[in-house]
């Protein structure tokens, strides 16, 4: 099943898409994938995974091809240091900064946001089961052509298209967040 093959009824149900094998996105890496007609950047920031719509809310630039950089903080004139606990995705057009974990812009966090998507790690068995139930689809690429591409012993990155509720934080997917069934899959 793929996005292209889903019927409108199915598409309503399909809210998650398999976008890559976990191993294909090492720390510091990114993938830009087409999910149900939307270009989405998937990032691995020190083992946590984040998804952001590849469209800058400023003027529509390809946000997800920009640099991912740590924050620079200051306690006053002439003082600056790196704060790697906040990482900014910077738009290649005007260098505006967006918090990679939730899409909030630096200078107007309440009103100017890039659109975030949650990315989770799921084991192959769970993916296949959800796919049969019509909950999870696959994006174009190696995960579309043949079912055999999703293998039960592998872990996959699954992006959810469900809109986040206002104020809801994206839960980063990382080793600590791994759902327990995954261990059983291994």
């Amino acid at each position: 099943m793929s996005a292209a093959q889903t019927t409108p009824e199915q598409r309503q149900k399909v809210a998650k898409y398999v976008v890559a094998k976990v191993d294909e996105l090492p720390p510091g890496g990114r993938l830009i994938v087409d999910v149900d007609g939307r270009s989405i950047g998937i990032f691995n920031v020190k083992g946590s995974y984040y998804g952001i719509l590849n469209r800058c809310p400023h003027l529509g630039g390809p946000l997800c091809v920009g640099d991912v950089v740590p924050d620079v903080t200051s306690e006053g004139q002439g003082h600056m240091e790196l704060d790697e606990s906040t990482m900014w995705l910077t738009c290649p057009w005007h260098n505006w900064e967006f918090d990679i974990t939730n899409g909030q812009s630096y200078w107007n966090p309440k009103r100017l946001k890039a659109r975030p998507f949650s990315v989770e790690i799921e084991g192959g068995r769970a993916v296949l089961q959800e796919e049969e139930e019509g909950v999870t689809g696959r994006v174009k690429g190696p995960y579309q052509a043949e079912k055999i591409d999703v293998e039960v012993e592998e872990d996959y990155l699954v992006v959810s298209l469900r809109p986040l509720r206002p104020g809801q934080q994206v839960r980063p997917a990382g080793p600590a967040d791994r759902p327990t069934p995954l261990k059983e899959d291994r």
Binding site: S74, G76, Q77, M80, N95
Partner: protein, 362 residues
């Protein structure tokens, strides 16, 4: 600005409420007037050498130029605005100003001698305090400093800054460096310590160009170009973090206009949004920082067509940033009536006095 004769109208017809004049000038009538306020060693040295005073006064305000004084305020060959009674008759009384900020641009910046610059600045300040502030309670003064030497400048600010009617420190807009550079921090530190406003005013060193990119050929050109220097200093002070370092610092822009502010500030905001990682101490937009720390006197106002001017003033933001001033004795052709008409109704009392009262603690 309509003043001496209030032209074809009356003070009450223009504005019946309180008035504070945020920029009037006193001019030194001649070097001799300062001798009583200066150490004898300098008086002697000046006389021996036949020194005739700092050159930049005449460059900033050429004595015969129409901009230097309204014709009604010239008295024979006397230096305009060089007597208290003239200031009183010409503007304070007709406007019934409850207070005025008195500035003496005295050209200290063009004195290269480090000790004479200090002595001269001190003499001007002593003269202003004794001969002007001491004789009219409406007057609140600005002091001059040897700005080439920030340590000496800070010392002078501490020497006279505690005087109850000293409210401001003057920095001339033509300088050899941008005022946001940390070199000047001792001046801001002393201003804040003494609860004084820093007023950037017309004039300054003649050794650097009056425009950011070179020397103008004509006085008319210079007068028009020099406005750019205010933009350069404000950009510098905001981005270099002067206001982060001194959160209580207040700056007044005098004789610099104000209608350029929103359009310029939008541009600086835009650059900050993309480049702010270089200047992380600036945590608000440059325009918000300016609204917190900077006010503008309105002479010259250089107004455009009414409807465009009204809109531009609206762009300055929700609070009034403007302070009424006559800029006595300089001849300004602006019409305060038009300005009053185009500012939002709720801002008028602030424009005419409220903002200056709060800003200077009057």
């Amino acid at each position: 600005m309509t003043t001496a004769l209030l032209e074809d109208t009356t003070r009450d017809a223009l504005w019946s409420g309180a008035v504070i004049d945020a920029d009037v000038h006193a001019n030194v009538p001649g070097l001799g007037a300062l001798f009583a306020h200066m150490s004898p060693v300098w008086v002697e040295g000046i006389k021996e050498r036949g020194w005739r005073g700092p050159i930049s006064v005449g460059l900033a305000y050429p004595p015969g130029s129409p901009t230097t004084s309204r014709p009604e305020w010239r008295r024979d060959r006397a230096v305009p605005a060089s007597q208290l009674s003239w200031l009183q008759q010409d503007v304070l009384d007709p406007w019934r100003s409850e207070a005025a900020i008195l500035n003496c641009y005295s050209g200290v910046d063009s004195i290269r001698h480090p000790d004479l610059a200090q002595a001269y600045a001190s003499a001007v300040n002593n003269w202003l305090i004794e001969e002007w502030l001491g004789r009219d309670e409406r007057l609140h003064g600005s002091i001059v400093i040897p700005a080439r030497d920030p340590i000496a400048a800070a010392r002078e600010i501490d020497r006279v800054g505690a005087h109850p009617r000293v409210r401001q420190v003057l920095l001339p807009v033509r300088a050899e460096r941008l005022y946001g550079q940390r070199y000047f921090n001792p001046i801001y530190e002393a201003a804040v310590r003494n609860d004084l406003v820093v007023g950037i005013t017309w004039g300054g060193t003649a050794e650097d160009a009056p425009s950011p990119t070179g020397f103008a050929s004509w006085h008319a050109e210079e007068v028009a170009a020099e406005t750019q220097l205010y933009l350069s200093h404000l950009t510098s002070m905001i981005l270099e973090g002067t206001f982060s370092k001194f959160p209580s610092l207040r700056v007044t822009v005098m004789e610099g206009g104000f209608l350029w502010v929103p359009v310029w500030a939008w541009g600086v905001n835009k650059k900050w949004k993309g480049l702010r990682r270089e200047v992380p101490w600036l945590q608000k937009t440059p325009f918000e920082t300016l609204r917190d720390h900077v006010r503008f006197t309105v002479a010259p106002a250089a107004l455009g067509p009414e409807e465009h001017t009204a809109r531009t003033i609206e762009w300055l933001g929700p609070d009034n940033l403007l302070m009424f001033a006559t800029d006595y004795p300089h001849r300004r052709d602006d019409d305060i009536g038009t300005l009053l008409k185009v500012v939002p109704e709720g801002h008028r009392a602030d424009l005419m006095g409220g903002t200056a009262r709060d800003w200077y603690g009057l």
